[in-house]
Symmetry: C2
């Protein structure tokens, strides 16, 4: 992670993340791009760990995305390692780029006595430049040696190592069942953040026992409500992924991983399933909490952001329509520049609703900035105080609510403002 | 028009626009918003003039849009005047706002001995503030008196009077049939410019005889290839319109306006139609030229623009898919900031293609910056010279070509770069 000026919206400190049994992490400076900074991260998992993944919908996906899709399909959802480099996305690098990804997986597999398809690969950084596999290979011995460190000491370094234009490392954790089941994760992302998995990597680890299919269901639901509800600049990356690793080593929970339970008798299996079902709702809630926390941190690190903005649209024909309208507001450069200027120019919100292409009744439209209602029944609300709205906009956390007056669909999207710093960062990223 | 620093992409001078028989123009400072500048423009037309209009698709359309739709429907396509104010869009102003528009039309109609529905109204400026009809009424006598000036002396003032954040007035003309048929027009727009009629007003005048239906067909075709192919910031306004006025007074062309020809015998009517059909193709081409010229000027006045950028996508499944991909590239803040920095970071173009949601073959993708081919077959082209690409980007007119390798659909979209000045302009527009 190349440390720019830390976002004014950053949390005070990286959170304390717990032990997650069966997970080991290590980082190293492999000299792939940013000299002096750790740019290679390895996560190693005990045998029997399962994984679920959600990947970018970009049609120009990077080589690691293709590899991970292949690996997940051929490993039966089992995983032994994840390796992630920054500085080079290995995207748009053709067959040679895919070979580098495969060779990376093979090298890590050899070092950890695993199969190549049990090694996932993630990359982030510049596009269309060749990635040198030898830098990764040369760094592997140190990386593997680093796995011996106690996990709680490595979380922050791991979160740092996967960052690019991030200005702070992003971590989050929740526990279930009195702390006996743990979920912890970290993420990177600050630009090219948009719907459907933007330049964003999120790795979440739990000692809950989940088979790959259940993990995928839980992760998909969590991603839908978190990473897919944030937008910094409407741009989508070639390299994004969210992964959920499940070691199943939580003390009081027994594994139900299918391959391990084939030998168990029917009664035992039912008991184990019962235990898991008992905790499923609590686990899902905790997982949602971790992904939403990480997603919010990504917005708080939005390139150049000075405002964390929650945009809630209600009264739409359905939740999906509400989300589209909320996103139209969140992605509008005119809305975002007005937010940067702390200017209660809510006419731009009206314009964004109008262009969203979803049903809305102009003459029933209502708009709030914080608690201050600006508009009702399609015009300015009598007694509206621009001063009160402006005071709200002067804070670092902004809430905008819009009711489009046609139904009961609702959705919230999180975004940030558009400032000069966004242009500074992105006009100079490669140099 | 509040004159900001003139765009570096502005043409050297406002073009000489010709006489268009049957059209008179006048402007006045009505004090609606910018003190000292003309902010009210009146166009008056001889009886028998027809009009066609294309309007914003915004669901939160402004009162003047609603009025114009009503007027076109009830006037049978006949028109006697157009009045346009700047400084206040009369948008999101409820029933009171609509009443102001109607009263404006009634006042102008009374002054010109016309029917209210023969008067079109356009407004542009801030949203959600009440517009005072009395300012318009008070200015009307001066405005009507101003109609006596020779048209060629008023074009530029009229183009100036409809501008808001524009930094130069925009005009264009073409002639057909050795100059005997004239088309001239002017437009405003520099921000909130996006697909499907953004904050953009375009008024085009011809002495060609066109019935309202034919005019609409020609105008719709011209708009599709010009105003709907430009984007500054992907934002769409509540107030946009393109209007084509046809007086039918060109010396050598006889009118075919339906109401006037009811009395003519069949043979005469056929001759007249034949004359018009003879010129239809040439007229359409000239009209396309005027609208494309105006559209390009709007992009050249894009808020904060320092580059005029043509993005052509080929090899798509069809023309519409090509347009969607071209627009995804044109609207990408990451592409636009790279262009501002003259940085040949074409990986961002790859990312934009990937997110467009239209079929593209990553492994057949080819990209050119100017004449320099960056990518072929899904990776960097051997021998690609970043230096040559950068030299092209250092010019003020930039061409980007992308072939997505799946078909023969093609489209060009015009846009500009995203600079600090865009934020300066939009963070301070209301203050």
């Amino acid at each position: 992670m190349k440390v720019n000026k830390i976002s004014p919206l950053a949390p005070a400190a990286f959170p304390l993340l717990p032990e997650v049994k069966g997970v080991r992490l290590a980082t190293v400076a492999a000299g792939i791009r940013y000299s002096g900074c750790d740019d290679l991260m390895l996560a190693a998992f005990d045998p029997g760990t399962t994984v679920a993944g959600i990947f970018t919908r970009s049609l120009c996906s990077a080589a690691p995305i293709d590899w991970c899709r292949y690996a997940l399909e051929h490993s039966g959802g089992r995983v032994r390692a994840l390796i992630c480099n920054t500085g080079n996305a290995n995207a748009f690098t053709g067959a040679a780029g895919y070979a580098v990804t495969q060779q990376t997986a093979e090298s890590v597999a050899a070092a950890l006595n695993a199969k190549p398809e049990e090694v996932l690969v993630a990359s982030t950084g510049v596009i269309a430049e060749p990635l040198d596999v030898n830098r990764i290979r040369a760094a592997l011995p140190d990386l593997v040696a680093g796995l011996s460190k106690p996990l709680p000491q490595v979380w922050e370094a791991a979160a740092m190592a996967i960052g690019t234009t991030d200005t702070f490392p992003k971590g989050a954790a929740r526990t279930v069942k009195d702390g006996n089941i743990r979920i912890a994760g970290f993420a990177k992302g600050s630009g090219m953040i948009a719907p459907d998995m933007a330049t964003m990597l999120a790795f979440v680890f739990t000692d809950m026992a989940l088979n790959a299919e259940t993990a995928r269901t839980f992760l998909a639901a969590a991603v839908k409500k978190s990473f897919n509800r944030i937008t910094v600049d409407s741009d989508t990356s070639t390299s994004d992924m969210a992964l959920l690793f499940s070691t199943g080593e939580a003390l009081e929970i027994e594994a139900t991983r299918s391959a391990e339970t084939t030998a168990a008798d029917e009664a035992t299996r039912k008991t184990r399933q019962g235990n898991n079902e008992l905790h499923a709702d609590a686990f899902k809630e905790a997982l949602d909490g971790v992904t939403l926390d990480l997603a919010h941190q990504i917005v708080r690190d939005g390139e150049g952001a000075t405002k964390f903005v929650a945009i809630t649209v209600g009264g739409a024909t359905n939740d999906q329509a509400a989300e589209i309208i909320a996103r139209a507001i969140a992605d509008s450069p005119l809305v975002k520049t007005a937010l940067a200027a702390e200017d209660a120019n809510w006419g731009r919100i009206v314009a964004a609703v109008g262009k969203a292409g979803q049903q809305a009744d102009r003459d029933r439209l209502a708009i709030w900035i914080g608690d201050e209602q600006c508009a009702e029944a399609g015009m300015v609300k009598p007694g509206y105080s621009e001063k009160r709205a402006t005071v709200h906009l002067q804070g670092s956390d902004v809430e905008i609510k819009v009711d489009v007056g046609v139904g009961s669909g609702e959705a919230t999207v999180w975004t940030c403002d558009l400032t000069h710093a966004y242009i500074d960062i992105n006009a100079g990223y490669r140099s």
